[in-house]
């Protein structure tokens, strides 16, 4: 009886309090600050709230802001896609094709690099790829190429840094969703006469979908806000939208403007994620309809 009187959310209360006090309220304060203005150089404090306006939003919402936002979305989107393309076969092998011992070993090998501090492991690529690095020295010394390939500071370097750092976060969720598929289901599909490719498309792929979705969220969102990783190898090409917030707030010493940029960014990212979710849901619905027609044919 004692338990009945407690509210159902009792156990979630610590989380509610934690997110309320250290997430919701701070973000709310930030939004309030975004309507204020910055005091003159040398005055104490970093925000004045006696006059509230939308000026910061107007000042932040420039062509540059939009173009950096879209290029960030393009970079994070491409990198997420690359993670799927590269990670899906790996997850497929580990979950379905590998034997039990190999499964454990491969999972370990995928996650172990993750434990090396990301700055160190990412900048170590420079040892390999810089103009006078290991790879170019090898290629030039052995006459394979006449001139070194300069990769550092290009778009490819941006992709390399991002894919390298986020790939395990894609492999694992896909692995989990594939690992849950009963082997019997795939066997049944084959017994029913479906070919390998057909089994993959109609049984394996749809069941991997939730894993891909989870992986996409785990990689895309952090990438969209990450403004450090891409610059380590990508230099000026790794300019991401998160840096704009930092530049307004810290370089420009204008906290209200940084807050306005942050508020806009939350709204934009939510929009992107929700529309991606809607598109995925729509595709699933269509696929379901198609498959329903499919099954009687194959039997």
């Amino acid at each position: 009886m004692r338990r009945l009187r407690a509210p159902k959310y009792l156990l979630a209360l610590p989380s509610f309090v934690w997110y309320g006090f250290f997430f919701a309220l701070p973000v709310l304060l930030m939004v309030v600050n975004s309507f204020g203005y910055k005091p003159a150089v040398g005055e104490k404090g970093y925000v004045r709230l006696d006059k509230l306006s939308f000026d910061n939003y107007r000042d932040v919402w420039t062509d540059d802001f939009r173009s950096v936002f879209f290029s960030t979305m393009r970079i994070a989107g491409t990198a997420t896609l690359l993670c799927v393309v590269i990670g899906l076969p790996v997850a497929y092998y580990i979950a379905i094709k590998a034997g039990p011992r190999m499964k454990g070993l491969m999972l370990l090998l995928v996650i172990v690099p993750f434990w090396m501090s990301f700055f160190v492991r990412t900048s170590a690529w420079k040892i390999v790829l810089s103009e006078f690095g290991v790879l170019n020295t090898f290629l030039v010394d052995n006459g394979i190429r006449n001139a070194p390939i300069d990769i550092i500071g290009t778009r490819s370097a941006v992709m390399l840094a991002l894919v390298y750092n986020y790939l395990p976060l894609m492999v694992f969720p896909i692995f989990v969703s594939l690992d849950r598929i009963e082997p019997a289901l795939r066997e049944a599909s084959k017994d029913l006469g479906a070919g390998r490719i057909r089994t993959f498309l109609s049984v394996t792929a749809p069941l991997a979908a939730p894993g891909i979705t989870a992986g996409a969220i785990l990689t895309f969102i952090p990438m969209a806000g990450d403004y450090v990783t891409a610059t380590i190898l990508g230099g000026a090409k790794g300019n991401m939208i998160g840096a704009s917030i930092y530049n307004f707030a810290i370089q420009g010493q204008d906290v209200p403007k940084g807050a306005a940029a942050a508020a806009i960014l939350i709204i934009l990212i939510l929009t992107v994620v929700l529309s991606a979710g809607l598109i995925v849901a729509a595709i699933r619905y269509v696929l379901k309809q198609l498959r329903r027609v499919d099954i009687p044919e194959s039997t």
């Binding site: 250290f22 790996v90 170590a124 990212i269």
Partner: protein, 299 residues
Amino acid sequence: MSTTTSSTTSRPKHNRQPRDIGKWLTAAWSWLVVIFLMIPIGFVVAHSMNGGNSFNIWKEFGGLKWYRELLSDLSLRATLINSFKAAIGSTLIAVTIGALAGVALVRKPGRWTKVFLLLLLLVMVTPEVIDGFSLLSWFFDRGFNRPFETGVFGIRGGMIRLWIGHSLFSSAVVTLIVRARLQGLDESLEEAAADLGAPPARAFRQITLPLMAPALLAGAMLSFSFSLDNVIVSSFVGQDSSTFPLYLLGTVKSSTKPNVGAGGVLLFLVTMLFAFVTIRVLRRSGDSSGDIAATIAAG
């Protein structure tokens, strides 16, 4: 693996084992990806023993001199210790509140669940730069936040702020992992325990806790690695408790010395130790490696 593959290749081609091509292809691809992930780690280890003064530029073999230097460099050593303190503290917080919320979501669903899941989505979707930036204003803007500024019980304010900042995303991940784990398990066990007269606390400890142990430990490992690699939130709130990634952010921009590699390797080894203790405990509690990985990666 080598024995099975050699036996399959020696089989006549007309044998009904055509799917081994798929296994071969995905296995080869997976090993390529593992090599890709491992390359920089190898170079980090090698260059941590560089005799020259630059991490990136190899000069000659210098033995363990940078490791010795690491131990005498108090600033760098302090950042390594701070990194561990931050990781352990934020992991404990994330696992505690995440586990409770995960249990509540599965066992006590109600109207509150929707609100909570929405909050969880917002926490996960918000880029780190916004967490860090809004917490910076929040911690220092309000008089009642004094403990977070100067610290309490001999713990520095910066360390407390790191625990809080790092725990936001991690605790959301732990919540979802615990939820995913418990969703597949039967609640009747706990009810039966209650029927037998076991007090709720005891039923929880002897039935529910063991059932979700793999999820807790998996969540702990993820939180731990997220915290160790965190640089953006730390750079906003970690003022008096600089972590190893913050140290790197400062030096990567100037000349990176091989002691950075040595620090990375040490941190790597201790994390490995932590992970292997975790895996051993999981093994002893009877999970297969696949299940362990599944819970580590569940999203």
